[in-house]
């Protein structure tokens, strides 16, 4: 049995990280932009048309048969995508089959996991699955945090996942791509079908680099499946199932903007800050998530654009009805969409050529000849904790539990201005700490923290400090905000964590930025 981890060193961020992870060597974080990759991109074996049917029909009668044909065996890596979010049913089926066949020690490499995959805990317990390399949310995060996973978890950003695949750091043996619509050749898309989820960008790298690729769908159309977001030329087998996902849990019928007056206040302050700091102009771009606060910030941005008769050149999104409204009103020229959250988003992507599907390759991959993330003017991100040096945590709660994935968060930090609108405390727990529990990003990449009680600007952003000094906005230092929170909540007691490491956090360049410790139950 390989050691979970070994050879801890202090990395450039001052955090202790292992250099041997699940038996393989990894590089400690060296600083932002400091690590230079060498070598060539990874490539799967060369295929030949001689091995594939000339009529293009790659259909196999069941997922089990396809997995056996693809070489399901002990110790391999299986990847899935998370475009179906909490409506995914295929990941659970894959490991049911593996368990039935007595296969052990698998590495599951999802682009994210969801509470619906709590089912897999029993396979983590019985050794069918050795470890998850991907986000661990909810019950899976709790399981891992309590030190129960056999292997060491590895968390990567969306861009970091593409980088790891491309660089050959993670070699996928079998990629399973659940698709709302596909043809028998394996061309697939997310815009049509019962399980429509918009796009399949998170599976792009998997399709390009895995040894074997299986497309699973409940909606087979005759060749050609247009648009072909996934190219059948990468695909080995196609499986038709009765149901590929639970539509009502994949996208929501409607998206609602927050009604919380406190969050709306934070959203309003964020938009006002951006306006007064001169960050919004004709032709600007922004990225905001699909959370309630982020959505209302987008709406306030829309008001500012309308008032000035300006247009945004593009929005980077997880899209839903609100950005779509801005696009259709003509306030935004393009939506560059990474994942679609509601039916309006899916409809728009299907019908509007200016609503464009993107992938972690185009948006986020750091080992590339540039990517979109660094061209964005304003990105709005959340965090579980920010420390007095603006370092931020997005994966663990202050009690040490791993409860969120990184998503595109680390990648988005490359934007020209990164703003974190966050409440000063949640449920009595202050968000601004002396030191973050888990380091996911260095403070040098985080420019502004907006709370309901004041706005802190990173001292490195002298330009923003200068532009907003007479704005009438409640600009405070991050220390002042911390003291203010503690005056209301009390100073929190220090949480003790075990020395044992249960997961590591990768930076966008594949180096290890921090370790996640086991919680003491």
């Amino acid at each position: 049995m390989k050691k979970k981890y070994d050879k801890l060193v202090k990395n450039a961020a001052g955090r202790m990280v292992p250099t041997i992870i699940n038996g393989e060597e990894h590089i400690p974080f060296k600083g932002v932009g400091k690590h230079r990759p060498s070598g060539r991109r990874y490539g799967p074996k060369i295929a030949t048309c001689a091995d594939y049917p000339e009529d293009g029909n790659k259909q196999i009668k069941s997922l089990k048969d396809a997995l056996i044909k693809a070489g399901l065996r002990d110790g391999i890596t299986i990847s899935t995508h998370h475009h179906f979010r909490n409506g995914d049913i295929i990941a659970n089926q894959i490991f049911d089959i593996a368990h039935e066949l007595g296969v052990k020690n698998l590495r599951w490499f999802p682009s994210a996991s969801f509470p619906c995959q709590e089912h897999l805990i029993k396979y983590l317990e019985d050794g069918t699955i050795n470890r998850i390399e991907g986000s661990m949310n909810g019950p899976l995060g709790k399981f891992a945090s309590e030190g129960k996973m056999q292997g060491l978890g590895v968390l990567r950003s969306h861009g970091g996942r593409y980088q790891a695949i491309q660089d050959g750091e993670v070699k996928i043996d079998i990629a399973i791509i659940a698709a709302p619509t596909a043809d028998p050749f394996g061309n697939a898309n997310g815009v049509n079908g019962e399980a429509a989820c918009g796009l399949l960008g998170f599976a792009l790298g998997d399709s390009q680099y895995a040894e074997k690729v299986i497309v699973v769908t409940d909606n087979i159309v005759p060749f050609p499946c247009i648009p072909w977001q996934i190219h059948g030329n990468y695909v080995d087998y196609v499986v038709k199932v009765d149901k590929v996902g639970l539509a009502e849990k994949i996208v929501s019928g409607t998206t609602r903007i927050t009604k919380s007056p406190d969050r709306l206040l934070i959203a309003e302050m964020t938009a006002e800050f951006c306006e007064k700091a001169g960050l919004i102009y004709d032709g600007f771009s922004y990225q905001a998530g699909a959370g309630g606060t982020a959505l209302s910030i987008g709406n306030y941005f829309g008001d500012i654009l309308r008032k000035n008769n300006w247009k945004a050149r593009f929005i980077r999104a997880g899209s839903n009805q609100y950005p779509v409204e801005l696009l259709e009103e003509g306030l935004v020229e393009y939506i560059l969409d990474g994942q679609t959250f509601d039916l309006e988003g899916v409809r728009s992507m299907r019908e509007n050529p200016n609503h464009v599907d993107t992938s972690p390759f185009t948006s986020y991959n750091y080992h590339s000849k540039g990517n979109f993330a660094s061209m964005v003017d304003i990105v709005v991100l959340g965090a579980t904790e920010v420390d007095v040096n603006f370092n931020a945590n997005v994966v663990t709660h202050s009690d040490g539990y791993l409860l969120h994935g990184i998503g595109g968060w680390q990648n988005c930090l490359a934007a020209k201005t990164t703003i974190m609108p966050i409440p000063l405390f949640r449920d009595r727990i202050p968000v601004i700490r002396d030191e973050v529990t888990t380091l996911c990003a260095l403070g040098e990449m985080i420019d502004v923290v907006v709370t309901e009680r004041g706005i802190a600007i990173n001292p490195l952003r002298k330009d923003l400090i200068e532009k907003t000094k007479d704005s009438g906005l409640p600009i405070k230092t991050i220390h002042e905000l911390k003291v203010e929170a503690e005056a209301i909540c009390g100073v929190p007691e220090k949480v003790e964590l075990d020395d044992e490491i249960i997961a590591v956090i990768k930076w966008v360049d594949g180096t290890v930025i921090d370790s996640v410790r086991k919680v003491i139950v």
Binding site: D262, D399, D427, R428, I429, A487, C489, G490, P492, E493
Partner: protein
Amino acid sequence: MEKLGIAGNHGNDVKSDCRSQFELAKEGGLQIELTSRVKAFYGNSIIKLANEMLSFFDIKNAKLTIEDSGAVEFVLAARIEASIKKVIETEKEFILPILIENQNSSKKDQFRFSRLYLPGNSPKLMINAGIHKPNGLILDLEDAVAPVKKFEARFLVRNALRSLNFYGVERMVRINQIPLGLNDLDFLIPHYANLILVPKCESADCLHQVNIKINELKKQFGINNDVWLMPIIESAKGVMNAYEIVNAADNVAAVAIGLEDYTADIGTRRTAAGNESFFARSMVVTAAKAAGIQAIDSVFSDVSDMEALAINVRASKGLGFDGMGCIHPRQIAVIHENFAPEEAEIEKAKKIVLAFRDANDKGLGVVSLGTKMIDAPVVKRAQNTITLAINTGKLSKDWINNPND
């Protein structure tokens, strides 16, 4: 007295609150059981507070169970004290230190465009209320608190007056209807409440009773701050006695109208047009203006319809009201925006105030604008408009140096 004292709330949906359960025992010393979402961060400090309080009330043998959902210290203390006092009788009060900023007085004529109602037993809504910057925050002990919760709400409101940061907003409390409400004052006056709302007020006598109790408490606790009254007129009888009510005492700073009860009292219901309350509203406004105090309109209850609220506010301002109650923080900005003077009003007021200054500079007794003579009341109204415009951010403070900006 009860055998088991329970105060506060607990459950999956409850935040920023806790439930405290207190039971005396014959022996076995003190047992404290704590479950808390924030135990990792505040477990020790909560246990410490509980021990301190039990010892303060001289309790030797008892079981105290605290189920906490992230309550801050003043909430925990209020819940624990209420649960103890349901079981034992004592004169002692567990008083937390008071924030310096919670000891200031307010002014009789300060702006009261908006006053936000907060249920007196809901700590979750209190913590962030001040950041929305209403002119006043009302901790409501009356209609927003269920009868069985009235006892514990008083402790929470008392502690909030001392420990909750109001961010400079006027600290108001709506007491229960007199005579019950007189007992509420014990929890308010020693803790620097700025203004007391007296509901269902129908006579000057009602306010006299309140003032007698206030003055007793002020004397007893050495409080020198002003305590203003805002009677709420909510009945036909109250409307007919409006003039008597507003003149009941010098510390009556404003009078409010409550239309839900009033319309029920006259046997009708509220409509959007509001014809049914036109007389009552005008009566209250006229009485207030005759006494030189502020007239405050009833709340607008559809919190999702900001356009209807804006129309309502403009109608209210048109009738002569100086402010309005609100029940949701998002209503505050709409109320301020629409009570604030309009551009044309401000421009006219600026001209009048400048003309007045010129006349004074030249030692002229008569102010004129163009060929028109300006009367003193007009100048006063213009000065009020300017103050309002400055306070609502519509005019710069030093506008007089740059009058053409």
